[in-house]
């Protein structure tokens, strides 16, 4: 199923991110997905060599999750593939019955574990969305006809509502909508007031937006993100909150509480939530419980 159908039905769409390992043992990922995510989120984003670190591929992992009765979202970045490979993978996704895409430019190569690699960026997020849209119309980006019935996807993209240059981000968001983007997931939000202000401007585009959350695990992680991760800012008060009860934070409970609170504060302004748990998938049910979000009936 395409998650755009859920948005159209007016559902509050829940997604969580999972990252394939550097290796082919997916048992742990699959077990966690069944145990913690299947009845709590509608779909699972599968990252594409996240942070430019080489891992098992997103498409193959999507297929495994699909076979497990879960609904995957195939994340595709422009970092590692030129337009031929990107479009070929999009067709491969259609072949495998993967109907949800999240189309990104991608982190730069030097941020990951193969800094010597060639950065491709032949297309970018906007032109990739355009390419997929063209394929849905029966043509590749070079204008050649595609044989048989064209594929159909839910085409998603990302945006950073708490960026220090949110006007520049909004301009890019508009370009993505124009190119055919049908839903957005945001970068991690820790400042509800910024998110709400952003949504007031973003609603003109008429495209659903899922609030992005990164579970704050500890103070070090927050400081690291503040210094290094674009579009993410953890305010001082929240860092103090994580510092206040060290045992509670260590147990992960402070992070869970913060996420639940962020959902409550932003819920009325968003069309869903996307949780990036970075290995803490087991805490997602608690976050959703605490935020008052009931389990869901799984869709495939």
């Amino acid at each position: 199923m395409r998650i755009t159908e859920l948005f159209q039905r007016g559902e509050f769409v829940l997604t969580a991110e999972v990252g394939p390992p550097k290796g082919v043992e997916l048992d742990h990922l699959i077990k966690d997905a069944h145990e913690y995510l299947k009845t709590r989120v509608h779909a699972l984003n599968v990252t594409d060599n996240q942070s430019s670190v080489m891992r098992t591929g997103s498409l193959a992992t999507c297929k495994v999750l699909k076979d497990e009765g879960l609904l995957p979202i195939f994340q595709i970045t422009c970092r590692d593939r030129n337009r031929i490979a990107l479009q070929s993978d999009v067709l491969s996704a259609a072949l495998l019955g993967i109907e949800n895409l999240l189309l990104l430019t991608g982190d730069y190569t030097t941020l990951g574990d193969h800094p010597q690699a060639k950065p491709v960026f032949d297309l970018d997020s906007v032109s990739l969305i355009h390419a997929v849209k063209r394929m849905e119309e029966g043509f590749d980006i070079a204008g050649n006809a595609i044989d048989g019935a064209p594929p159909k996807f839910a085409k998603g993209a990302v945006v950073s509502p708490c960026s220090d240059s949110v006007d520049v981000q909004l301009a890019k968001m508009e370009a993505k909508v124009k190119a055919g983007c049908e839903y957005f997931q945001t970068q991690g939000v820790y400042e509800p007031e910024k998110f709400i202000k952003f949504m007031e401007q973003a609603k003109q585009f008429g495209v659903p937006v899922q609030l992005g959350l990164i579970i704050p695990k500890n103070v070090g992680m927050c400081r690291y993100m503040n210094a290094n991760v674009a579009g993410v800012h953890v305010p001082d008060d929240m860092i103090k909150e994580l510092q206040a009860d060290k045992e509670k934070t260590k147990a992960g409970d402070t992070g869970v509480e913060i996420c639940a609170r962020l959902i409550k504060e932003c819920k009325d302004y968003a069309q869903g939530v996307h949780i990036m748990s970075l290995g803490w998938e087991n805490r997602i049910p608690e976050i959703l419980d605490m935020a008052g979000i009931a389990p869901i009936t799984p869709v495939v």
Partner: protein
Amino acid sequence: MLITQLKSKETIEALAQGKTVIINCHGCKEVYFAEHEADELQKDLNGVTQIITTDYICNPDNLKLQLQKHTDVINAADTILVFSCGVGVQTVAAQFESKKVYSCCDTYPLPGFQGVTPLNVDCGQCGECYLNGTGGICPITACSKSLLNGQCGGAKEGMCEVDKEMECGWERIYRKLEKLNKLDNMKYDAPKVRNYHNPNAEEPII
């Protein structure tokens, strides 16, 4: 060597709006420049208040010196059309921040010596100059990812995720377009896609 090839007459005519000053750069002998064709084309353009032919406009100090005696006419102009390689256009655009500065050439590379660029401004020699839509700041060389359709999510406090000493090129472009009241430049229908199959640059006639 570089080849600068004139953009089409229609393109250049569309760029010449209001009072227009033309700057020709006949600097590097290593750059092939279609002098005669440019002269012919410039004769027919409307609104031209001054044609300045000079050299090495890629050097900001030299540019300033060369243009000193034309200050009044440049200040009164609405548009500056630059006939040079991509570096020259960017240097002029940086010097006249509030003017519309447009490139009338596409710059192509040829193997061998590539001219003299004594500064950080760079031209990607892509053969399909984007400077006219980006406020005279090159997205190919000012953006680490050479993105054509706007900022990625990797800028923090205006700096690039790849090189923290480097400003985000698209943030610079956005601010420049904002200043020029040209933000609509970022609204177009088909996203821009680079052509790596370098179009056939004409052989230089030397």
